[in-house]
């Protein structure tokens, strides 16, 4: 059978055009990658110019006020800290324990599939639905009201899937020869986990933890749903005190900005504080990862 040879002439006629298209596309796609960067720059520029001159010591240390010039965010900062103090240890214990159970005890089979399917579905539930759960169970059914504990428990359930998945990955990265060596020395399963596996996985677990915390301090919707106010309330000093947090404060100032333009500046200033805190958290996470994480 005769072969159809390639029409050399047609190919070389089209070639410059095809190469040009490739070059144009390359430029376009690079531009689209930069789009994200440009938006990020515009967003930061917008927030910083709006807040210019509003962030000072007085703003950071005063309680909120109806008078924009005297308003501060110490209440929201204290509330956010309270939230972190509970959410951090609670999710760490529950998350790491769940991960150990799945990675070191169950390993495979139906039980594990069941738990993992549940966790991944939970991670996809919109945060506002967690807010409704908190409102119904903690605030109303258990009668806590919109207090620190109710907010912290709601937030813990929300970020728990993130901590579990991060911890699972950390445990999975510990090579099995370390476990086998420990078993070979006569250690029990729990001794092996406690003395060998957990220390090796700790940096990655901490990195995941910090990223989860960073998510928790930026979450707004579930806390608004459980009724966290942004009114003149005393600073929280216990688990059963009313409180507010930075993002909720930003929300109320933003929606009231239509009435009073100064409130937009207050919201922007609070955003800058929130972003700085998140930046510090993320930088710490990266630092821990680079400094302590071992590659096996």
């Amino acid at each position: 059978m005769a072969m159809n040879y390639i029409d050399q002439e047609a190919v070389s006629r089209q070639l410059p055009k095809r190469i040009a298209i490739n070059k144009i596309i390359r430029g376009l796609f690079f531009g689209s990658t930069l789009f994200g960067l440009v938006v990020l720059a515009v967003l930061l520029y917008d927030v910083i110019t709006d807040s210019w001159g509003w962030i000072n010591w007085n703003f950071l240390t005063s309680v909120t006020s109806f008078d924009a010039a005297n308003a501060g965010i110490i209440g929201a900062i204290t509330g956010t800290l309270w939230l972190m103090i509970i959410v951090g240890p609670l999710t760490m214990i529950l998350g790491v324990a769940t991960a150990i159970y799945l990675e070191e005890y169950v390993k495979e089979g139906r039980v594990r599939t069941f738990f993992e399917t549940n966790i991944s579905n939970l991670a996809g539930v919109p945060s506002i639905v967690f807010g409704l759960l908190g409102l119904t169970v903690f605030v109303r059914m258990l009668g806590m009201g919109s207090v620190v504990l109710a907010g912290a428990l709601t937030m813990s359930l929300l970020v728990l899937p993130i901590v579990i998945v991060a911890s699972q990955e950390a445990l999975r990265a510990v090579p099995s020869y370390l476990r086998e060596a420990s078993f070979g020395m006569g250690a029990t399963r729990w001794q092996t986990i406690k003395n060998v596996v957990l220390p090796a996985a700790l940096p990655s677990i901490l990195t995941g933890m910090i990223l989860a915390m960073s998510r928790a301090i930026g979450e707004t919707a579930p806390l608004i749903a459980i009724g966290i106010p942004a009114l003149l309330i005393p600073l929280p000093s216990g688990l059963f005190d009313s409180f507010t947090v930075l993002p909720v404060q930003i929300y109320y100032w933003t929606i009231d900005a239509a009435l009073n333009a100064e409130l937009a500046s207050l919201a922007a200033a609070t955003i800058v504080v929130l972003l700085v805190v998140m930046f510090i958290l993320n930088a710490t996470a990266i630092l821990i990862r680079n400094k302590f994480q071992k590659r096996f």
């Binding site: 190919v11 095809r18 298209i21 490739n22 390359r26 796609f29 690079f30 689209s32 990658t33 789009f35 994200g36 960067l37 938006v39 990020l40 967003l43 917008d46 927030v47 709006d50 529950l94 769940t98 159970y101 799945l102 738990f115 549940n118 991944s120 579905n121 939970l122 996809g124 539930v125 919109p126 945060s127 506002i128 639905v129 409704l132 759960l133 409102l135 119904t136 169970v137 109303r140 728990l160 029990t188 399963r189 729990w190 960073s214 930026g218 707004t220 919707a221 608004i224 749903a225 009724g227 930003i250 929300y251 933003t254 239509a258 937009a264 922007a268 955003i271 929130l274 972003l275 993320n282």
Partner: protein, 310 residues
């Protein structure tokens, strides 16, 4: 002498061993209890949603909720409940968001995976991902105080609160998700396939469009579906920038309220517990819950079912 010490040591060791054994048996029980918390959370969510939704449908008919078009839950004389206005707002904002997120996310993924040098990739990828870490409340502020005023210069008929601006900003928020998941899919296509295409004389672009993208299509589509799920569940951006108008409309220059924004309005407002308006919250939430769950399961199904193994 050696005999006597070894006897007492033996007893001591045995005691320790039984203590250790007890701990060894206790630990899995504790771990199981911790693992159950996530299961209980799911049960809790389902139970609260179902029980309270049942209360709602004992007062408002299924038919009214899903087929009527009037939504005035806080009207004292004649409250009406219809999810359609909320659904149309959710649908519109999601479509607008995906119009932004899909093209930019996919082209970013292609650039990072096919065109960028390793060093450029190492710089650009984390910057794109920073966008995913910014709290949604900040995006809401950005949409309301920056994007909407800018858009109103271009489209004068745009309302001060509208669905267009939060839709666009939501799309920007979802770019990293689409870009990062699509890039994973593209990167997992083996190099031999690219090289094969290029050995036949294809340009990089041709190899990408004809060979690499088709090979990675399941992961790419799954990233779109996950993006949609994210857009449906997004709350703060639409709450702040789209207002609370509950008219059934498809005019994107108008204020509209999504399902999520409705939940925020009713919970932060003064609908007392036990009122129909309060129960409507749960009927809306359960609809939202099933929409996002369906999308997440669809994404998982697509990436599993149509995955090409190399």
């Amino acid at each position: 002498m050696a005999q006597s010490t070894s006897v007492s040591a033996l007893i001591k060791e045995k005691r320790q061993k039984s203590k250790r054994q007890k701990l060894e048996n206790l630990v899995p029980a504790f771990l199981f209890a911790a693992a159950s918390v996530s299961v209980l959370t799911t049960v809790g969510i389902l139970l609260t949603l179902i029980v309270e939704t049942a209360m709602f449908f004992s007062e408002v008919s299924f038919r009214e909720f899903f087929t009527s078009t009037e939504m005035q839950p806080l009207n004292r004389n004649n409250p009406t409940f219809s999810i359609l206005p909320l659904l149309s707002a959710t649908l519109l904002s999601t479509v607008i968001a995906m119009f932004v997120a899909i093209p930019i996310g996919l082209t970013t993924a292609v650039y990072l995976s096919e065109y960028a040098t390793e060093s450029a990739r190492r710089v650009l990828k984390p910057i794109v991902e920073v966008l995913a870490g910014i709290p949604t409340i900040v995006y809401g502020f950005f949409a309301f105080t920056f994007v909407t005023p800018v858009l109103r210069e271009i489209i004068p008929i745009l309302d001060r609160t509208n669905i267009l601006s939060p839709g666009i900003v939501m799309g920007i928020m979802i770019i990293p998700m689409v870009a990062s998941l699509s890039e994973d899919a593209l990167s997992s296509v083996p190099n031999s396939m690219r090289e094969g295409a290029m050995a036949f004389g294809a340009t990089k672009f041709e190899a990408t469009v004809r060979v690499v993208i088709p090979a990675a299509i399941s992961g790419i589509i799954a990233s779109f579906v996950l993006g949609i799920s994210r857009a449906i569940g997004e709350t703060m951006i639409v709450t702040i920038a789209s207002g609370s108008n509950k008219n059934l409309t498809f005019d994107i220059t108008q204020s509209m309220q999504t399902m999520t924004a409705y939940i925020v309005e009713v919970t932060s407002g003064d609908a007392g517990a036990g009122t129909t308006a309060y129960y409507s919250l749960y009927a809306v939430a359960i609809t939202l819950f099933f929409f996002t769950l369906a999308m997440n399961m669809l994404a998982k199904y697509i990436s599993k079912r149509f995955r090409e193994a190399y």
